[in-house]
Amino acid sequence: MEKVDKALLDASVMPDKNGFFGEYGGRFVPPMLEPLMQEITDAYQKIKDDPVFKEELLYLQKHYTGRPSPLFYAKNLTNKLGGAKIYLKREDLNHTGAHKINHCLGEALLAKKMGKKKLIAETGAGQHGVALATAAALVGLECDIYMGEVDIKKEHPNVVRMGILGAKVIPATHGLKTLKEAVDAAFEAYLKDPVNQLYAIGSVVGPHPFPMMVRDFQSIVGVEAKEQILEAEGKAPDNVVACVGGGSNAIGIFSAFLDDESVKIHGIEPAGTSFKTGEHAATLSLGKPGMIHGFKCYLLQDENGEPAPVNTVASGLDYPGVGPQHSYLKDIKRVNYDSITDKEAIDAFFELSRYEGIIPALESAHAVAYAIKIAADLPKDQTIVVNLSGRGDKDIDYVVEKYGNDYGL
């Protein structure tokens, strides 16, 4: 990261006032959306340092979500690999089973303060949808969740959960019928009634202020992890690893370590079944800068600028774009973005389950797989902190049906 002003890694100065992280981010939206995004930005700026809001959020984080989430030393896995010590930041233990609740509570409180009646959002794996439906139920808002028809079939338990929580799940039926199309559908619905609805996007993507706001709400993960690893090891971690779909869990844990150059940071994308177009979603590895859903980022696209089809076992990583701050961190080489195949992720899914008794979400299994990959070659006094962004209950039927044979099931 030569030539980079360290101050630029400070969350308080990134993004700039127009929402740009270097050349990425911004607000590439039609003028109907522009004032709506500004309204959310203004409301968020006003509320974020308000002591009443902060206290309310803090209370919920502690007594509702169950924060701080533990940092667990995965001793069995570490011993088996014989290298660096692997620590797991247990976001899977949060209420609703993933990191998504961190920004959903923030967005729900914001919507309530703005006088909105309904929260709407897209969801891929259903984790963001469940977390938002939960937050909506808690603060007393209606909730519509847009979800690709393909994902509705694949993530059935989460669809049921959203229904029980009182949310409406609306299928996105165009294109590939997965996450990208769900975002289209949510934007379209949002524009139909922007007065009563708030679009609570599910990751650090979309037009400004979402990449900033969602990051801020997720940054608690990094703040806690930094304190916890210091307490456990007496020093900063040598490596931090997180999976990257849109990039919310990753930026959440990365943000606390960006300005400490001794910490190697790894963002892990899904390599799917191959690097052929349509068989992966390794956006930062293989994409080119472009604009999608109102922001500029690395984008998987064809020669005509059409977003490319994507595919991975992990629905929550199935997106051709990626957060603008990650795009920026790639360019300045502060973060190492690498990828893990479906096969490696499934192996890690079973390995963590069988060595530590923790069933990870398929998304998080990508981060675990990368830690497994690098741990053996690192000295024993080094550490790897993995953001275990979610639990795998939602994935069990799918995994057993598709891969059970190979693992004696």
Binding site: V29, M32, L191, G290, M291, G294, G305, E306
Partner: protein
């Protein structure tokens, strides 16, 4: 003088039609254009299909999806338009999303527009500041006008800045929603038209979004230099019967 300026100087109550390139069939782009000119449309906006069109309602979205399946792309569109100036005289505008143009290359795109005789470009998701900083000089160099959308929420200062920095026309979106034909003007819309008219802009203005019949066209023309019809026309293209006869009778019915 460029074709857009000339048109607004010569005519009142401009009827501008939007349709998606490559819809309903890949080869329909130019034949539709010819029929439109013959039928009396004054200006045409040809949509470049994009799979994630944040400004468009279901009708135009669907047409874009079909066009992409048909094989439409910016390259194909420019091929189709190569000889267009030997066939139609009216001003032509391309309307599309920023990523398509960004990928093609801004300079290459502006140059190609100039070469085939495209007069203006509408990129609804291009932020005005980014346009000024990174795009304007290139489009100016090739004499291609940039047209920007304004809505009831656009502040006066921004409208004046758009007026000062661009030289095609101002595209007034009549309600702060996605495209799609609706009926009747609300008090809010009337106040908005009034507000814009009182700014005494140098550029002409067209009103779009939600216009689909003779009554709404006539009504709209009272408040601006003309009207833009999109979804209602695209819907017609998807209907059965003879495409070109349908277009002729549609334009006739709009003009009354």
């Amino acid at each position: 003088m460029n074709r857009i300026k000339q048109l607004f100087q010569d005519k009142k109550d401009i009827l501008s039609i939007y349709y998606t390139a490559g819809y309903p069939n890949l080869g329909d782009t130019v034949p539709i254009l010819e029929t439109l000119e013959k039928s009396g449309a004054d200006l045409v906006e040809i949509g470049i299909p994009f799979s994630d069109p944040l400004a468009d309602g279901p009708t135009i979205q669907h047409s874009g999806e079909t066009a992409l399946k048909n094989g439409m792309s910016l390259n194909v569109l420019f091929e189709q338009l190569a000889e267009v100036r030997s066939k139609v005289k009216m001003p032509l505008i391309l309307m599309g999303y920023i990523n398509t143009v960004h990928k093609y290359g801004i300079e290459a795109f502006a140059e190609k527009c100039n070469e085939v005789g495209v007069d203006g470009v509408i990129l609804p998701d291009l932020p005005f500041q980014v346009y000024l900083d990174e795009y304007k000089d290139t489009f100016d160099k090739f004499g291609v006008s940039n047209i920007f959308l304004i809505t009831p929420q656009t502040p006066d200062a921004r409208i004046k800045l758009i007026d000062e920095k661009t030289n095609g026309f101002i595209y007034m979106v009549s309600s702060a929603s996605v495209t799609g034909a609706k009926k009747g003007l609300s008090d809010e819309q009337l106040a908005y038209f009034d507000r814009v008219n009182q700014l005494n802009l140098d550029n002409p203005a067209l009103i779009g979004f939600g216009i689909g019949d003779n009554a709404s066209y006539k009504e709209t023309c009272k408040f601006a230099d003309g009207a833009i019809i999109g979804s209602a026309f695209v819907k017609l293209l998807g209907e059965s019967g003879d495409l070109h006869q349908n277009i002729q009778s549609f334009i006739k019915s709009i003009k009354g």
